[in-house]
Amino acid sequence: MKEQEYPRARVDCLVREFGDEVLVYDQQRNVGHCLNSTAAAAWKLCDGKRSTSEVTKTLAQQLSAPVDEAIVVLALEQLAAARLLLESEAPVRRTSRRTAIRTIGIAGVIALPLVTSLVAPTPARAASCLANGRPCVSNAQCCSRRCGVRSGHCHR
């Protein structure tokens, strides 16, 4: 229980800041995540020493604005789902975005946390596909996603 109350951010990801947003690239899973300002601020405070309440308090001090603990719980939920927290230290409480909005009210001072994730493409998926009849070696190369095993050509 103690572990779960003291969330800790993973430190093995690549991190780039874009204004108050943060782009995190998980090299183990090849997934990129965009953390909006609130999620990014909460994530940075997850050092394994602060409890959820302390993260909430520190966040309020940093933003000079009242922060409801439901916002931090929602942020931690999303960060845990994106596997950006050490797994055993994810919070046990569950709250939905809808519940958080109900608790906080839609006129909250800070933005609701949001973590958007995208799987990084393989080179074959990221390049233009081949027309039917063109030589191929894998399904991923073909626009039809069908590369004939015997013919070695894309087909319908």
């Binding site: 090299q27 990129g32 965009c34 995208l118 990084a120 390049a127 233009s128 596909c129 039917n132 009849g133």
Partner: protein, 231 residues
């Protein structure tokens, strides 16, 4: 040398019941086999482009159409069959400069370089492409690297109206990462260059209908952005 291509060209005359194959290898992997040499050479070109995009240490390649407009680059990222070339072609018709219909090539400063292969316009349901140079379409090809102005992430849907939503820089950068050829191999360099690339850029995302409406609207975004910058 990092990659060796070998082309085995079939020799000898026609014999009944025998198909003479031209075979292309990249290192030890067979990547094309066809009776037509043109098909095999087209496969060589495709593989070379992809390999350069994947292996280039000094540039990051994003899968995107690119045009130059008012001294800035407009990026149209998207996967195959998303209509990049159609939109690029329409923008060329409206006076934009051709940079690429396949890759945005980004350097360490975040500038976009031309990759001016002929536009591959898909003609029918077989996805086959006909190649046109920008010049045959009445446009000119860019030479100088450009700073980024606008990124428009479009999805085609017949009859849709183009009413794009704005994206933040962080979300825009995530979208660009999703169109990066080598992010899995070189994530650090890719993210560094994307970070430099997106400074000051405008991001929009939406569903578009026919190209003329959305192309004009996207070019106009840069016009209005320039006006704001000068004000």
């Amino acid at each position: 040398m990092q990659r060796l291509y070998s082309l085995v060209v079939a020799e000898g005359g026609q014999r009944a019941g025998v198909r003479r194959m031209q075979i292309l290898y990249a290192d030890s992997l067979r990547i094309a086999r066809d009776t037509e040499l043109d098909q095999v050479l087209a496969a060589l070109e495709t593989d070379l482009h992809r390999y350069v995009a994947e292996a280039s240490p000094n540039m990051t390649f994003l899968h995107a159409g690119v045009v130059g407009w008012q001294g800035r680059a407009i990026l149209l990222p998207g996967h195959s069959l998303s209509g990049k070339t159609t939109l690029v072609r329409e923008m060329l018709r409206l006076g934009a400069t051709y940079y690429s219909d396949e890759f945005a090539v980004v350097d360490d400063s975040g500038n976009v370089h031309p990759f001016t292969r002929p536009l591959g316009i898909r003609e029918d349901a077989t996805y086959s492409q006909t190649k046109y140079t920008a010049e045959t379409l009445g446009a000119i090809s860019g030479v100088k690297p450009l700073p980024l102005g606008v990124v428009a992430i479009c999805k085609y849907k017949a009859g849709a109206r183009w009413k794009p939503a704005s994206l933040s820089n962080g979300h825009g950068a995530l979208e660009l990462m999703g169109n990066s050829i080598a992010v899995r191999n070189r994530p650090r360099h890719t993210l560094q260059r994307i970070q430099k690339l997106v400074r000051g850029a405008v991001f929009v995302k939406g569903t578009r209908g026919e190209a003329p409406e959305s192309a004009a609207s996207i070019l106009n975004l840069l016009n209005s952005d320039n006006r704001r910058g000068r004000a």
